[in-house]
């Protein structure tokens, strides 16, 4: 039945179990729509035949005796309330599914997705990267953290029934768990310019052993050179299996992040990055926020919006200084420090808040500014 309806409605294959669940709601909504519009139009046309004017020449007062047709208000009320119940029912089911589709499991494999005109780049925690082909393991939750280097794009996999905009300067996420190995098309769904329609990619779902082998053969992420977003040449492709988090350390060093933030839990000018990811952060205004990808990105781009309690609002914005791939690498670095344990001897980097070992930031220096300072 599922397969028959899916084909009748031209839906793509169901690549995930959630896609199948969404399709059941789809059938219910679309079939009701067809039935509803057909019944309404047919009723009106039947009335037009049943109550047609019999003698056109004498049209006038004689045929209609009542001042107004008596509408059965009970009937109308029942129809409207029934419809409202149906709509609200769809909303309840749809919203519950939406929450599921938007909430990745905590143990999901996280992949950074960077969109630009007109290409998709996927960066793995191992530091490997791939253009236009997203390799993922079957039967494992995969979380995509998306951002864009230029305009808004939208990551769309019809077979998974998921779509998420990639917004420049922000980070958004979506997840899926593919059931079977296979290849599924990816489209850019948000209009992004001349070659919008050829900004396509593929999701290649592999058995997990094949995935691991494939990942080893991928080249490391090439953090791009200056392209108007302001970053200089950074960590070039290295062949020593550099992880994305490791690339993030380089980014943090170059941009002077480590002059204020530490990686080992020591307090400094700014909050430490150790155990920060997914923790609840108390803010100056008394509220709190979960330190997820979008909070971390926002704090880089617009640091004064959510200032952590106990810290001065002195961080400058890195909007235009960090490029999208660098942001991805920093987020990955912070993510990798989530379960940080106090064991300085095994941590190869960042002695507690020691600026001396940090390479000098490249010019122009992202200067620390006080909130009142408006100089560029």
């Amino acid at each position: 039945m599922n397969e028959l309806l899916r084909r009748l409605l031209f839906l793509p294959p169901q690549g995930t179990s959630l896609a199948r669940e969404v399709d059941y709601l789809h059938y219910s909504v679309v079939l009701s729509t067809m039935a509803g519009s057909a019944v309404v139009a047919a009723t009106a046309m039947w009335f037009a035949v049943r109550y047609r004017r019999r003698s056109p020449t004498t049209a006038g007062e004689s045929e209609v005796a009542e001042a107004a047709p008596r509408l059965s208000y009970g009937f109308e009320l029942a129809a409207i309330l029934g419809l409202l119940a149906l709509f609200v029912g769809w909303w309840v089911v749809g919203f519950r599914q939406f929450v599921k589709l938007e909430t990745p499991p905590l143990d999901a494999l996280t992949i950074q997705v960077v969109a630009k005109q007109w290409m998709w780049t996927f960066a793995y925690p191992s530091g490997a990267a791939s253009n236009a082909v997203l390799y993922v393991p079957a039967s494992r939750a995969v979380k995509l953290v998306l951002t864009s280097r230029d305009v808004i794009h939208s990551f769309y996999v019809p077979a998974f029934r998921i779509k998420q905009d990639a917004v420049p300067g922000q980070s958004t996420s979506i997840w899926f768990e593919a059931e079977q190995p296979g290849t599924y098309p990816v489209y850019c769904a948000e209009y992004c310019g001349t070659d919008h329609s050829t900004m396509r990619a593929q999701v290649v779902v592999l058995p997990s052993e094949d995935f691991a082998r494939r990942l080893e053969r991928l080249p490391p992420l090439d953090i791009p050179a200056a392209d108007g977003f302001g970053s200089g040449p950074l960590v070039r492709s290295r062949s020593d299996g550099t992880s994305l988090a490791r690339l993030g350390e380089g980014v943090a060093a170059r941009h002077g992040c480590l002059r204020c933030h530490t990686l080992d839990g020591t307090p400094h000018v700014g909050p430490t990055w150790a155990r920060l990811y997914q923790s609840d952060v108390a803010l100056e205004d008394g509220t709190s926020v979960r330190a997820d990808e979008s909070y971390l990105t926002e704090s880089m781009m617009d640091p004064r919006v959510k200032v952590r309690r106990g810290f001065a609002a002195v961080m400058p914005t890195y909007q235009g200084v960090l490029d999208a791939a660098e942001v991805g690498a920093l987020v990955e670095l912070i993510r990798s420090l989530r379960d940080f344990r106090e064991a300085p001897s095994t941590t190869p980097l960042a002695p507690a808040g020691a600026p001396s070992v940090i390479p000098l930031p490249r010019s122009p220096l992202p200067q620390l500014r006080s909130p009142g300072d408006s100089s560029p």
Binding site: T33, A59, V64, E76, A79, I80, W90, S197, T317
Partner: protein
Amino acid sequence: MTTSSVQPPSHAANPAIRDYLHEGTSIRSWLLTRDHKRISLMFLVATSLSLLLGGIFALLVRVELLTPERTIMDAVTYNRLFTLHGIVMVFMFMIPAIPTVFGNFLLPIMIGAKDVAFPRLNLASFYVYALGAAITLTAMIAGGADMGWTFYTPYSTTSPSAVAPVGLGVFVLGLSSIMTGLNFIVTTHTLRARNLTWHKLPLFVWSIYATSIIQVLATPVLGMSLLLVAVDHAWGLGIFDPRLGGDPLLFQHLFWFYSHPAVYIMVLPAMAVISEVVCTFAHRAPASYRAIAYSSLGIAFVGFLTWGHHMFVSGMSLLDTGIFGVLSMFVAIFSAIKVVTWVATLRRGSIRLTTPLIYFFAFLFLFVFGGMTGVAVATSSLDLHWHDTYFVVAHFHFIMVGGTLTAYLAALHYWFPKMFGRMYSERWGTVASITVFTGFFFTFMPQFLLGNAGMPRRYYSYPPEYQWLNVLSTAGASVLAAGMLLTVGYLAVALFRGERAGANPWDSRSYEWLTTSPPPQHNFEEQPSMDRGPYDFHLPRLV
């Protein structure tokens, strides 16, 4: 003409009074007229030209989509064309058409007034419209705007094309829209004839009034947003540009705060027409006058609170998604109230099947289908799949073309005798209306399926498996175009050769039929009595 004790106004009775078409025939008497009926005809010509242009652009887009890769143009031209199609159709046809043409012509007559409250402002709104249309078209064609009618930032603010002049053009068009809306609100409040209370107004007036409220309240937000985009684009102010600390999603919120209510600016006038057509040809009062009248206001109000359902995949919070989702369900209910009431009005009527009523049946099917697919895309989990695909394209064309254009055609046929004093050919009308419906159905039904299959909108090239549905859609569009041309043809003939229409050829009870066809310059030779209601079909006709 049926005799009755009440004196029917007629030319025969007073040959000295000329109708508005013959009250001065010089070019100047048209261009500088303050007569709302002449301004309405000038708008009819202008918006029809816009419809023709937008239709040509649409056909070019459909021809390009016949093959998966290049057919007749390159990607850059294609992107410009769909932008042209969208902006011309939305801002130059759909939004102004019914209010400026039929609202202008009928609103004063329906309330027993000689003209609108501000006749000069009315004329000015026409020239502002013409100016806006000229700026927009020149800028788009000369400057190659390719950002789509939605102007999404930061693409629009960084695109090298002429975004600022196009924004200015649409801004000016919006000004015209505000002027018309303001005029109608004041007219409805101040110029109603004696004894004509709100609950005796024809339903057309209620709906046009609700539309005007949205126009006046929402259009300034669009103007402001477009101004900010233009400033951003020209001087790099960075309000919506993330590189300068701006927020691109802010633009989407502002844009949809106008553009979702704008959907109701397009649909409420259509509902205004439908209410009149149904009552006249069913020959009975609406099943519930108040249900239809108040639901217009309900739509106008709740329509302001649903804009976020355009942004479910933008990264908006879950809470916002939930709230906008459920509010969208409520706005659909007001439309459902109207649909149920219209159908109930037909029951036990004395129904005369004419071209406007055929358009009503087309409207009913397309509007219910389009409306329920609107509820479908507002269902958040389903929207993840459908957002920005052809499903959405098909959905809003069902509402805009299936709803508004069919109602526009119904209005054109229904009031044609009043406006020009002639009857059109009912036989050709039937043929054309069925052709238009068939063409429409085959243009957009395949697009729902394309969307289900996952084809995103605004795609110049597409995977080959989507081709046959695209070919079917283009074939449908050709039939639709043929139906439209046929309509232009027989209406043009009717203009000169049509049978003379009497004052009230449809045997209606509404006030606009109390005067002659076409009406004299000041609408009524003598102030009509409006003691009766506009749907008193149980009483003998006056005219």
